[in-house]
Symmetry: C2
Subunit: 336 residues, 2 copies
DNA sequence: TTGTATGCGTTATCAT
DNA sequence: ATGATAACGCATACAA
């Protein structure tokens, strides 16, 4: 069943059928009705491939997601997909993993599929060695790119993010201002966002006249950022005599690991140990006590990404970089 | 840059270029090399839309996911996307939500896009009123459908699931056999899988000669299945004098709510209250004590879905229904 | 082994 | 307002 079949049955040309299909004003009400009747009763649906070939678009956005099972990215995925579909765009998903090669392959694949735009989810897309970012510059020449939680100054690359540095600084300051002296900083990434957060931690110490103790910086590799590993690591630190009365984490699950450490050693939270997470994920409500965390406004970011993309595809001028301000959500793992 | 440009530059016909592109054996090594050289240095990539139009496929699978932010479905999403992409299929994501209309719209949309097959994720797709399932029967006439965790006997519909009834029965039996007398059953769904689980609970009681007390059946609506609501509900039951010494949940997060109730009332787990979850999600390791849960073999299910889909698309005869057996993962929220 | 010609199902341009 | 026809870029049956 194609447009020729419809045109024959309706006794008109394919051009007229096409006009009806596309709500062209240049068609008389009578013929429109006649054609619509045939379409409705035949169950005809235009062929998306042919349409794509002619228009050179299938109204599709590529979503590059390092890991769809990560709760933060999964939430972002849900927000983005819904917002895009409400604008009549479909989403092609590519879970690339975190290796550079895999990400490059993901971008190439989506380019091959002629998506209208791409969203790069998470700051892991930006490499420290800037030459490794050429694939993005290259891709941006052909397709608009939007980064979720990343900053990358480049034409046709748009960035929507949260001020992680300031958020981390304020969280650390809050700990210091509620009487904590030695804040253990747990982090899992050295990428753009990771660096900003660490800088925020340093800035907080400086602002309160506290000297940084390198001993209090704990890095967890990607495959080691699970609750158990964190707990065991803190137990080990304890054994080594490292002292700390607060934990600030770059991600909620790391903070939960710290809470398990506290439980294992009988430490009271927040009496003897204050704990702050990051992302304000659903996890925060699972723990006992509930976890204070930084809400980095994911929904607002996702909504803005979609709006930006629509604007770009409409040929409008759009802001290259938009920064939201995070907000600390105080719960019972910190003192007042 | 299209196939004509390449053919001119290489001094051959477009047919030859096409043959090279598709690894046809009927092309001499010399010309193949000549053409490849031109392709490589021009950065030419075949137009996916044109290819799709001619072949009537773009090697795309539609993933219908009620909620990408749900951790169980997010994990499934990650497994499926990876497995499909390793077979050179891309995934179009449609997060439909759970209402019937939205799901129908999702299926229609993917039909419009001419996906090669669809995966319906989660048992929420099967309606209790069978007439409401006609949209699936209709869709299956044109496109192979695979259900994740659902059973639906219909031509061209394939089902891959876990034996939830047996799993729930064994979990309940384990509780009874370790001394629990009154098992509170928390559930969140009355769909196919939900019914099976409840039947398993009943069967376990019967097998041990325990009479069912309707008072112990707690249903939580979709928007009420959060940790806090569950905790408050159990506190309320307590106040009403309802007695129970174990909790069996149809989903891990419900079980975590029960653990929060125990914490709030000072009850010891598992001494005074045994708790068992379902799905064996990452959450299980977050709690204190860690949560005993039912591993329903999601990875195996997803892998099998992809294999089945590939077989069907290859025109092979494939099993209509495949059932995996779940496995209880014993942790510290239950007695030995 | 290679080239020619045609079809795939639209949209868009130009007549009428 | 409507129709004829040319793109869109590829795969492929058939011819050479």
């Amino acid at each position: 069943m194609n447009i020729y079949d419809i045109s024959k049955r309706a006794g008109v040309s394919i051009a007229t059928v096409s006009r009806v299909l596309n709500n062209s004003p240049h068609v008389s009400p009578a013929t429109r009705e006649k054609v619509m009747a045939v379409i409705d009763d035949s169950g005809y649906v235009p062929n998306a491939f042919a349409r794509g070939l002619g228009l050179n678009t299938m109204k599709t956005i590529g979503l590059l997601c390092p890991d769809a099972s990560d709760p933060y990215l999964a939430q972002a995925l849900a927000y983005l997909e819904n917002a895009f579909r409400s604008r009549n765009y479909d989403c092609l998903l590519s879970c690339t993993g975190k290796s550079l090669d895999a990400r490059i392959a993901g971008v190439e694949l989506l380019k091959t599929r002629h998506v209208d735009g791409m969203v790069l989810m998470g700051s892991s897309f930006i490499e420290n060695d800037d030459r490794d970012n050429d694939y993005m510059r290259q891709a941006a020449k052909h397709i608009p790119l939007i980064l979720l939680n990343g900053s990358f100054p480049c034409e046709h690359v748009y960035c929507v993010l949260c001020d992680d540095q300031r958020a981390t600084m304020e969280a650390a300051q809050h700990l210091l201002d509620t009487g904590c002296k030695r804040i253990l900083y747990l982090y899992h990434s050295n990428n753009y966002s990771g660096k900003k957060k660490l800088a925020g931690y340093r800035a907080a110490l400086e602002s309160r006249g506290v000297e940084l103790d390198e001993e209090l910086l704990c890095y967890f590799e990607d495959d080691k950022r699970n609750v158990q590993t964190v707990r065991d690591h803190l137990l080990e630190l304890d054994k080594q005599g490292v002292k700390f009365d607060a934990v600030l984490a770059s991600e909620d699950s790391l903070a939960i690991g710290a809470m398990k450490y506290a439980r294992a050693t009988g430490k009271n939270i927040p009496g003897e140990l204050s704990v702050v997470g990051f992302n304000n994920s659903a996890y925060c409500l699972f723990t006992e006590p509930e976890l204070t965390s930084v809400d980095n406004k994911l929904k607002a970011i996702c909504d803005h990404i979609v709006e930006t993309m629509m604007g770009v595809l409409d040929g409008k001028e759009m802001p290259q970089k938009t920064v939201f301000t995070a907000e600390m959500v105080l719960r019972d793992s910190t003192r007042r």
